[in-house]
């Protein structure tokens, strides 16, 4: 291969470290953050850097990770999904609603065979995703507002089905995937890793994945190239809902119970993982690789803060500050790119 870049930009004078750092700020900053955090916690707490704790971190990050997979698709198209936590919760509760519960659980539920309960739960999150997709692409409600409404609807479905109670039983397949291990490796880690791998494959090697990036990069140009932009946006909203649903099901098995508002904190965590990882909030840049780094940053931070002596209430503030810094870097990286555009 010849070097088209050198031909293309004659004004560019050779290799410049500064320019490369600026271009790659979006990818370098999250990785540097991760290394600094790991270094700091390993130094501050000897028990942090152990294999056992690595499994801990991965396990704790798994539910967030499954949600973050769907959100990566959404954010790559420059949309947002605020309903992920509520849809995870609703799906989990639909699953338990159709599963036989112990006698002391006072829910008027409808026990069905496990496979049927799983299918109904998947149908529930898929259906909720379709509603979001319809609202955003056909009616034209901005995704920010549409998913805010779906967040309330998801919470409402959860509330109506459990009526303030707590459910415990899930079908055995879900129980295995959520809380059992394979040769010492928790199934939930394997599931999340596989899902991340599949999503990476779809985004990088399929036509659909290309369209996701192109729609995020320039929606108007995609439309004027004959790409069905509505179909792509509708698909990513549905993918996000189904990922949230799966996270909800495995999460219930992992936590051991299903109740209202169980997944509320996962909305912020999942968005944080995608954005801290460096996927652009303006769409078209980033991907699953970035999300994985973001998940590690968040996972290490949550876990590590438990190892060092720190006020547990301060943890919340620290997470907020980390997210804010990531947002600043995200916007700053975009602006650097924009100024380079003008300059070149």
């Amino acid at each position: 291969m010849d070097s088209p870049d050198a031909d293309a930009a004659p004004r560019r004078s050779g290799f410049s470290l500064g320019r490369m750092l600026r271009d790659q700020l979006r990818n370098i900053a999250p990785f540097a953050t991760l290394l600094i955090l790991v270094g700091f916690f390993s130094f501050a707490a000897p028990a942090f850097a152990t294999l056992g704790n690595l499994v801990n971190i991965l396990q704790q990050a798994s539910v967030t990770g499954i949600i973050a997979v769907g959100l990566t698709f959404v954010i790559l198209t420059a949309e947002i999904d605020l309903s992920v936590g509520a849809i995870a919760n609703a799906t989990a509760i639909v699953l338990t609603f159709f599963t036989l519960q112990p006698d002391y659980v006072n829910i008027a539920n409808i026990p069905l065979p496990g496979w049927l309960a799983i299918i109904l739960a998947l149908a529930a999150c898929f259906g909720l995703g379709l509603v979001t997709a319809f609202g955003v692409t056909r009616i034209g409600i901005p995704s920010f507002i549409m998913t805010l409404a779906m967040m309330q609807i998801g919470a409402g479905i959860s509330a109506v089905l459990v009526r303030g109670q707590i459910a415990y039983s899930v079908p055995s397949l879900v129980l295995t995937l959520g809380s059992k291990s394979l040769f010492g490796v928790p199934w939930i880690i394997i599931f999340t890793a596989l899902l991340l791998a599949v999503a990476h494959f779809v985004l990088s090697y399929t036509r659909f994945g290309r369209y996701v990036y192109m729609v995020g990069g320039n929606r108007e140009a995609a439309e004027y190239s004959g790409v069905n932009v509505r179909l792509i946006i509708g698909s990513v909203m549905t993918i996000s809902a189904v990922c949230s649903g799966m996270a909800g099901m495995l999460g219930v098995a992992y936590f051991g119970s299903a109740q209202q508002n169980e997944f509320d904190t996962f909305l912020l965590d999942a968005i944080a993982a995608v954005v801290v990882g460096g996927t652009s909030l303006f769409g078209g840049r980033g991907g699953i690789g970035n999300t994985i780094v973001g998940l590690f940053v968040l996972g290490v931070l949550n876990n590590g803060l438990d190892y060092v002596k720190i006020d547990s209430f301060l943890k919340i503030l620290i997470r907020g500050i980390i997210l804010l810094v990531a947002l600043v870097i995200n916007i700053y990286a975009e602006r650097l790119r924009a100024t380079r555009e003008v300059g070149s």
Partner: protein
């Protein structure tokens, strides 16, 4: 004799080395209407922006009532009594008529609250001065565009403007609305104010102006009192320029149009209507023919182009392709029906951050790969097409943003060539390009037509249409005004028809 209300002498302005104005003199008499004509890029809007304080001139002087003025901002210009009514109105359609008249200067009553009653009363008085009697409490957006324009004019006058610049005020108006606007303008003139009337519609300029000035290539070439001997052809002659030094595409002489009456019809529009953009358009496009559609900015041809690709849906009328009626639900349907489209702005067509090959393959990806991407086939196809069009530098891995404007335009064309469309719709295909790049595009488009494609070129630049078309349709305010085929055509005839 009283000094001119506004006088400019030797005003010069350059943008990055390109001269937009070269030593322009301009004088506006008190209580008069001054028409300004000139082609796109002749310097009309730059001059008006200097008067309105948007730009500062590089050299030259400006005087109001004989006193020198220097505007550092639009606020300075407003304070000096200069107001502007733009082609794109800056009214707030969701606010009431009265609120629009007083936009930015609501009357305040006791306690610092808005004095609604006084505002309505004064708005009625203001509008009555212009001969307009409408409900001040009604939502402005519910009134037709002509009324909205008059309300904006009322606001400009109310804010104390003694010099009002009207930019293309008649382009969106129907004949009765124009008649009413002219009545209002005459009334304003009687009150001693001065008006500058910029327009592409020379008949309108001649109907309302006391004086007319013509601009060409950044220079003020002529001013005359409107009267006997000053007619449309007088203006057009001066807009185009007879003895020109610069030979850049003059198209003064006759160009013979050769239509292809026997070639099969590829696309037929019957009564296409989409209010308020265009009405009752019927035409055909034939294989192997370049059909030019010429019209001024805002005449509806951009909307027509988008309709042909499925981006906009017509309210009524039918589009037939290859003998059957097609309904294009979206741009994907347009592409499937065999239409290719290059939008009027490269920003809307291309992905600056992506490599060239992705910019090309996005239009035919479904034919290269069903599910999985086929990177080598994709690059090979993209490379074939960019080489065919001579994109420089060669190679498809570079970021699109690294290419020059002309080469980007070639990439926008190249993406349609792998699956040759039956109809290729090009909106403003040579806008903002240098002469060399323009010639490349002309050559490419002609060779595509020679291969049997029907090409439709829509443009507001007469040179673009004249250099490409085998047959020319002229659009005027959303309607087809005339058709040129099998005849000789020149720029002045085209301008006179629009």
């Amino acid at each position: 004799m009283a000094p001119p209300r506004l006088e400019l002498t030797g005003v010069t302005k350059a943008f990055g080395g390109v001269h937009a104005l070269r030593g322009v003199d301009f004088a506006l008499r008190p209580g008069s209407i001054h028409g300004v004509a000139g082609e796109n890029g002749a310097g009309k809007s730059t001059l008006m922006k200097i008067i309105a304080g948007v730009h500062a001139g590089d050299a030259g002087e400006m005087r109001i009532d004989g006193k020198p003025v220097h505007f550092r901002s639009t606020r300075d210009a407003r304070a000096a009594g200069i107001g502007m009514v733009h082609q794109e109105l800056s009214v707030a359609p969701d606010l009431t008529v009265a609120e629009n008249v007083f936009l930015g200067s609501q009357p305040i009553g006791a306690l610092g609250l808005v004095a609604w009653k006084r505002m309505a009363r004064e708005a009625v008085a203001q509008l009555k001065n212009l001969g307009l009697e409408i409900d001040p409490r009604a939502r402005l957006g519910d009134y037709p565009i002509g009324v909205q324009q008059l309300v904006e004019l009322a606001r400009v006058l109310f804010s104390g403007a003694r010099i009002v610049i009207l930019d293309e005020p008649t382009s969106a108006l129907s004949p009765p609305e124009i008649a009413r606007l002219f009545e209002v303008l005459r009334r304003v003139r009687t009150s001693g104010r001065s008006l500058v009337f910029i327009s592409h519609f020379l008949d309108d300029i001649l109907a309302i102006s006391d004086e007319v000035s013509v601009f060409r290539n950044g220079s003020h070439v002529a001013t005359a009192e409107v009267g006997p001997g000053i007619d449309k052809s007088w203006i057009i002659e001066r807009m185009i320029g007879a003895g020109r030094e610069e030979l850049e595409e003059s198209y003064l002489g006759d160009i013979a149009l050769k239509s292809h009456p026997d070639a099969p019809i590829v696309l037929e529009a019957r009564g296409l209507t989409l209010a308020p953009f265009y009405r009752d358009l019927s035409f055909v496009a034939r294989a192997g023919e370049v059909l030019g559609v010429y019209g001024f900015m805002g005449c509806g041809q951009i909307e027509l182009a988008r309709t042909l690709f499925g981006k906009l849906k017509p309210e009524s009328g039918a589009l037939e392709m290859s003998g059957g009626v097609v309904r294009l639900a979206n741009t994907t349907a347009g592409k499937r029906a065999g239409v290719g489209y290059v939008a009027e702005s490269r920003r809307a067509m291309l992905f600056r951050e992506e490599p060239i090959y992705r910019n090309v393959s996005i239009a035919f990806l479904e034919h290269v790969s069903r599910w999985l991407l086929k990177p080598s086939a994709e690059r090979a196809q993209a490379s074939t097409q960019t080489q065919r069009l001579g994109v420089r530098p060669p190679g498809v891995e570079a970021r699109l943003g690294a290419l020059s404007g002309g080469n980007q335009q070639k990439v926008a064309l190249a993406k349609w060539l792998t699956r040759a469309p039956k109809v290729l719709v090009l909106a403003e295909p040579t806008r903002g390009m240098d002469v060399g790049a323009k010639e490349d595009v002309v050559r490419i488009v002609k060779s595509l037509a020679a291969e049997g494609m029907a090409v439709i070129v829509l443009s507001t630049e007469p040179e673009t249409v004249l250099s490409l078309a085998d047959r020319v349709l002229v659009m005027r305010k959303g309607e087809l005004a005339s058709e040129f085929k099998d005849c000789a055509i020149s720029k002045d005839r085209l301008l006179a028809a629009a």
